[in-house]
């Protein structure tokens, strides 16, 4: 008879590095990143899927790390906010810095990941508002976040709809 697992060893690639971790199969990807791997860039806002602070890319697609259990990330490729900057800040990060797109910074990692995905795949949403609708910000009022992403889009040579 098959026994259910209460521990499993996962192999996952995080920001290009392949890592093995032994965790509970229902551990959240969020905790694996923060507690097991020490990548604390990804934030926990609500822990219930509502705020988007924990947004990461899994196999190239945005997911909420607080709602993603370990048993479903074995073999996955994950990109977190730490994976955006290479030698220098990513143009989206640079634009957030220049435009005041971040204040307290809690929403910023998720915002950056969602913005990054949108600029790579502008067809995924009707407009920037839809692309960032899952990322809540209690500080900026969004205007500066939108202008940051628009500035980055311009620098990256991406055309995105006006509204």
């Amino acid at each position: 008879m098959t026994e259910p697992l209460d521990r499993m060893t996962l192999t996952l690639t995080v920001n290009g590095r392949t890592i093995k971790v032994a965790v509970h199969p229902m551990a959240r990807l969020l905790d694996i990143l923060r507690e097991e791997i020490g990548l604390t860039g990804t934030k926990e806002g609500c822990g219930e899927g509502e705020c988007g602070a924990c947004t990461v890319l899994m196999n190239g697609v945005p997911v909420l790390a607080c709602l993603t259990p370990a048993c479903q990330v074995d073999g996955a490729e994950v990109v977190t906010v730490e994976g955006l900057a290479k030698e220098t800040l990513h143009p989206i990060q640079q634009a957030f810095l220049e435009e005041g797109g971040a204040q307290c910074g809690i929403c910023t990692p998720g915002m950056l990941i969602s913005a990054f995905y949108y600029l790579e795949h502008p067809e995924c949403a009707e407009n920037l508002r839809e692309a960032l609708a899952g990322n809540q910000c209690r500080c900026t009022g969004y205007t500066k976040i939108f202008s940051s992403v628009r500035k980055a889009a311009e620098r990256l040579g991406k055309t995105i709809p006006e509204v």
Partner: protein, 291 residues
Amino acid sequence: MPEASLLDFSVFNPRRLDEALSLLAEEENVVPLAGGTDLMVTLETGNLSPCRFLNLMGIAEFQEPFSWCDGKLRMSPLCSYRDTRIDKDVATRYPLLVRAAREVGVLAIQSRGTWAGNIVNASPAADGVPVLMVYDAEVELRSTSGTRTVPLCDFYRGYKEMDRASDELVTGIILPPPPEDRIEYFRKVAPRRLQAITKVLLTGYLLRSDDRIEDCRIVLGSVAPFTLRARETESILRGSVLDSETIKAARAALQGEISPIDDIRSTAMYRRNVAERLLDEFLLSASPESH
């Protein structure tokens, strides 16, 4: 309630469907886990009793989101809203699926949430279930003792009660081709455009020849203990001339068959009012003058 510890939970990771069905038949307390966008929330808020999850993500037979057979669309139990939004064929043949998928949560929910999970979660405010009902979806259920299909519009029995035995897995959602030249309608009313739970939803289609209604589907969310196919309203409309008299009769029928409640998201009165206006908007948009 104290937060549940992960020690109360464990996971089966089957690779094949028959393995999954045996586990569901033989083991106690097994809960299927698809995208987890409902289950992880109940787990994290401490509202889930100890169980063993049956992780469906690794099952080989479920990996293709769509297949076509005899002109029918078959959706795998792992088919997500994202899969639906990016499939050109599905978007062309079943546009309401895409309309609904775009309004479930936000992109990061759509990439993980599944239609089958939406069906079995059985929320009266579900946004995926109504459009599936409009397209006469059938739910395929499988256990070690066999396979059966149930029309989705007959699947619910009461609030979170459905025609599914605990050893049955939803193994597919099957959609026949809808009639040509139908006029479709979908509108979700919620406090915001995205990331918001529905206060009232109405969706349907109408098939007209000249000014007579040949056939129609009308399905509502958040106005009854489960997603409601408004059969009385449909029967008033079917065969009638689409004029103001018919619309008036349809409104009355609709009021007779919905049973909305007051809750934290809205009031019964508001929901009745909006449901009727959505019906109006739908019927007017489908009337000969609009085309």
